[in-house]
Symmetry: C2
Subunit: 619 residues, 2 copies
């Protein structure tokens, strides 16, 4: 057994993302990132949504042993509806220590002994409760500032897009956020015991969000790599992180993650409950599960995946399937029902669970335990039977003003994706949809970040509020640090593609800034404006390593001798001369007149474009 | 100057793709690949479409110096409408030798001196011509056999999908192929001087195809790497390959590629023509261009990208754009028009070009020189003005029975993709659409195989017949061997996702076989059935290297102690007992009765599932 008093060494990636600065906007000092462009551009810096927290802030001091500052604590206490109390005692089984511990153990988080908060008797801490009381919380104001990013430039844009019935405003006011939360169309996951989190919204009328999954693998040293993965995933854009740890040291691993996370943390409590009963599903009891909810609530988990829709009568429907039940939580509950021939205790005790949720403001993520695990099983009756039950449970949670989102598939061919979105909106009263992909084909293991990114972009366009990433290791193994980054960037681009297609008023600002930089050969700006500046520059440098190439008016595709972008600049000059550019089609004779003038200009200047270009075609 | 008589060393990847065998089907010995499954599965081998040619055939001997056998030569001669003739003489400028050659030179292909074929006076070698004469050629029979792949299993499948007005048959007959080619809805690119190519069809009612781009970079040694890239790209699934070489040694490089290619080869002749005039666009003449067409026709290029839609009056329209003209060919022609203030010679001489096409059966790939280069420019008037001209040219080519496909964008947000497909179908009379992506956002350089794969899957679903791949290096540099593979696999999965969504009757066979293997823990079958077995196995082995894990009934995600797939097998047994599985919803009381019986069975057997599993949760 290791000396758990020895200080745990945890290294994480800090420092600004290449080419950008952290800025804090408005009275609430909402964290954003600004990308400065080359002076030659004459363009202002581009502001982008930032999930990376203090880790990319050069003014912040990071101490993993102390955790992040409790940003929201003052707001919570000011509401006067919380009380400190003595936490539930930590038991060996919380860390999976049923028998002799061969894991080496994980040192407890140094300040883990702090006293948790909960609602005073009869109070409800849920953002939905406040919203329905007409109260605009600082959390809602923070979200409004954050989501408004870029809308200042809105006037420059013709708004277009197909939003499939969403209600995306030109400008996000705190009142709009309150109203969306009040009617259940958006959630702000914010456990009172996770004051370190920066408020964010998940809802169809806000920017599409993405989640990254991490989770330990039962050896002590891994707590360090899990905290590192969490920081790494938010650096590249994860809006929330789910800790899917199983096995040993779950409790302490989670504590290290939450105390250092500026984004909401989600879990699947049944995983830990299962460990507490030695991995035997049928030995699970409501008491063990309830105790686990309290344990995690006191630590600050912001949303719980609860598979309460896997009802007894639906289990047989999964038998017809090609791939049965692929959700771990779903199969745990199916097995429990099977062994006891009883209705799920999650379904039966749902209102009691809701009582716990509202005492801490934990949001439901109603799990799709019967999601399809293959193209063959997509949109079958087991899946939709569960979905309608999740809709019923959504209304029951809303009766107690508790926030809810709904988890979705999975494996779905493109022509069946929209049906998932439409049925979810109808069954669940527009509660935010949170989908895993979906993967649009089963035949590309090793590339499932892409097969699922295709489905994610589409369902995000149709109205899904948050996309759970899939990494290249899906179906094959545990993602490492590189897989996490590829998964996050892939989902970030899919979510952004969805925002563009929905007609989000500000989404295109970044595309335009990058395209303009590309057209004007501002290579550094092109790298810095991209989702992954490091990779973009590295790929460029593989062909043109010279520093000069960073400002060169050519690239390695066409080379200096001939470049289509160059021509376009002449075309523009030509158009200026004939003063025709903005009047649509040009009559041939008018065009020829302009051409004639331009050809003179060209004779004087044009050929100079090629001076000294040498014969470097492609390198 | 290197000794161009020295034998050129070219190494390519040969041998079967892991887990599969080459088979030759039917009287025409159509090449396909068969994947054998583990005996335990009781399943027959799965046949998949194969583009890799003799390189993956263990019975074939590969000699790059001799090229591939002329599969189609007999068929051509049997038609009695061709004549051998003395080829055009190769000039130094064909290889870009205008000044002193600093490139080191490329040895000519050993048998490059063979005599080319062309149509006898007054004859037309186009597959479209034969089709319209009611003639079913061996090429059409070959295509029918190839496309029918897997349809034998059709009866097992409920046909579904949304085909957006396509006419995909349950079974592909040679007559169906003939009819599709006759009406211009499909093409079979098959230059009479490329008899090594295995016939394939590009059309909305056939499997969605993909193209890979390669091209030299003006140093001699690169001819070897370009031939290697060609063989590498078809190994992973490229249906056609475009040689976009520029600079030196274009002629000889192309000869090496064509002689060794079992797939149709496409080019952009204006690139080589430009090199012949020293890279000065305005010095291009019809004579130089025409001479280049003949040169490439005699070598066996199967389709030509011709940017004849970039008309004088459209050039000014590009001036309003954020990123102007991004097509190299398009900007060459725009520049030519600009300098001479004249209508494009490609447009004016179009019928003369068509005369050449039909004498060799070269297909048009009408280039979209005004495609958008950014989200901002998508679907603008410049783009659609050109598209309607391409429609006009399509009809003019069809008047001479010459095959045509139409190139499409580019950069298009998701909500504007379908408009591209709909307008193309309407303007071009259902001639096959051949798109580059489209990229659905501009903000992810380094990941543009994914931003474009998302758009490619969608437009393929809507009806695009062939998808031109984009590699991770797009916008940044020249793709290397690894980039080519990632690009091809990404596009292969996008094309397959489109086939599934269109309701192709046989596409799902492979998804189902792989999902079933996954459900039954047949790891090797899962790897072998995937698009990239090497990567799938490598990813799996990073977490579970032990050989035993290949047959283990668990994976590294849930581990042996608890697995959702296991549960599903119990659920299935349960359902068998209560004999309820296929009757939709199950009444709770009935379910409980079954549960009761099952719980007895379970008590006797269920727990054994976990014997000896130890405490390995995640490793």
């Amino acid at each position: 057994m290791a000396d758990i008093n020895s200080k745990l060494e945890i290294g994480v990636t800090t420092g600004p993302i290449r080419g950008s600065r952290k800025v804090h906007v408005g009275p609430l000092k909402v964290a954003m990132r600004e990308i400065d462009l080359e002076p030659s551009s004459g363009e202002p810096p581009v502001r982008v949504y930032d999930t990376s927290g203090p880790y990319t802030d050069t003014d912040a001091t990071i101490d993993i042993q102390a955790g992040l500052p409790p940003l929201r604590r003052e707001w919570q206490l000011a509401r006067g509806d919380v009380e400190e109390y003595a936490p539930r005692e930590i038991k060996p089984e919380d860390n999976g220590q049923l028998g002799p511990d061969r894991s080496g153990g994980v040192p407890p988080f140094p300040t883990a002994l702090r006293r948790p908060l909960r609602a005073k008797p009869g109070k409800n801490l849920s953002q939905m409760y406040y919203a329905r009381q007409g109260i605009i919380t600082p959390e809602m104001e923070y979200v409004a500032e954050r989501e408004n990013l870029g809308r200042a430039k809105l006037k420059e844009y013709r708004r277009e897009g197909q939003d499939w019935g969403a209600a995306i405003p030109d400008y996000v006011t705190p009142e709009f956020v309150r109203d969306e939360v009040a009617r259940g169309r958006a959630i702000i996951p914010s456990n009172v015991n996770h004051p370190e989190a920066e408020p964010m919204a998940i809802g169809r009328n806000f920017l599409v969000k993405i989640n990254a999954n991490i989770g330990n693998s039962a050896v002590a040293s891994d707590v360090a790599s899990e905290v590192d993965k969490m920081v790494w995933s938010i650096r590249w854009g994860a809006d929330t992180v789910m800790d899917l740890s199983t096995g040993r040291n779950i409790h302490d691993t989670r504590e290290w993650i939450i105390r250092n996370s500026p984004v909401p943390i989600g879990t699947v409590p049944i995983y830990q409950a299962l460990e507490k009963v030695g991995g035997i599903a049928e030995d699970l009891t409501w008491e063990v599960f309830r105790d686990t909810l309290i344990e995690q609530a006191e630590q600050g988990v912001d949303y719980f995946t609860i598979h309460a829709g896997v009802r007894l009568p639906y289990v047989p429907l999964a038998a017809k399937r090609m791939t049965g039940i692929v959700s771990r939580g779903g199969s745990i509950m199916a097995k429990w029902c099977l062994a006891h021939h009883k209705e799920s205790f999650l379904y039966e005790k749902f209102d009691e669970i809701t009582e716990i949720m509202k005492a801490y403001d934990i949001a439901y993520s109603l799990g799709d335990g019967l999601r399809p695990g293959s193209i063959y099983d997509a949109n079958d009756e087991a899946q939709f039977a569960e979905l309608y039950t999740l809709g019923e449970l959504t209304k029951r949670a809303w009766e107690q003003d508790v926030q809810v989102m709904i988890e979705g598939p999975g494996h779905v061919p493109m022509h069946k994706i929209k049906e998932n979105m439409d049925k979810q909106l109808e069954a669940c009263g527009e509660a935010p949809f949170y989908t895993l992909g979906p993967l649009v084909t089963d035949i590309a293991p090793g590339y499932d970040h892409i097969t699922s990114g295709i489905g994610a972009a589409q369902i995000g366009w149709y109205g899904t509020a948050m996309l759970c990433y899939v990494t290249p290791k899906e179906h094959l193994g545990l993602p490492d640090r590189d897989d996490v980054k590829v998964g996050v960037v892939t989902y970030k681009l899919a979510a952004h593609a969805a925002d563009l297609a929905k007609g989000h008023p500000a989404a295109q600002v970044r595309d335009d800034a990058l395209s303009k930089a590309r057209f004007e050969f501002r290579w550094r700006d092109q790298f810095n404006l991209s989702l992954d500046p490091d990779t973009a520059e590295q790929y460029h440098d593989q062909t043109l390593p010279a520093e000069g190439a960073k400002s060169a008016h050519f690239c390695s595709m066409c080379g200096p001798k001939f470049c289509s972008m160059k021509i376009s600049q002449e075309v523009r000059e030509f158009a200026r001369l004939q003063n025709q550019s903005s009047d649509g089609f040009v009559a041939v004779e008018e065009a020829e007149k302009g051409m004639e003038e331009m050809s003179k200009v060209y004779e004087e200047t044009g050929r100079e474009l090629y001076m000294g270009a040498g014969d470097r075609e492609h390198d």
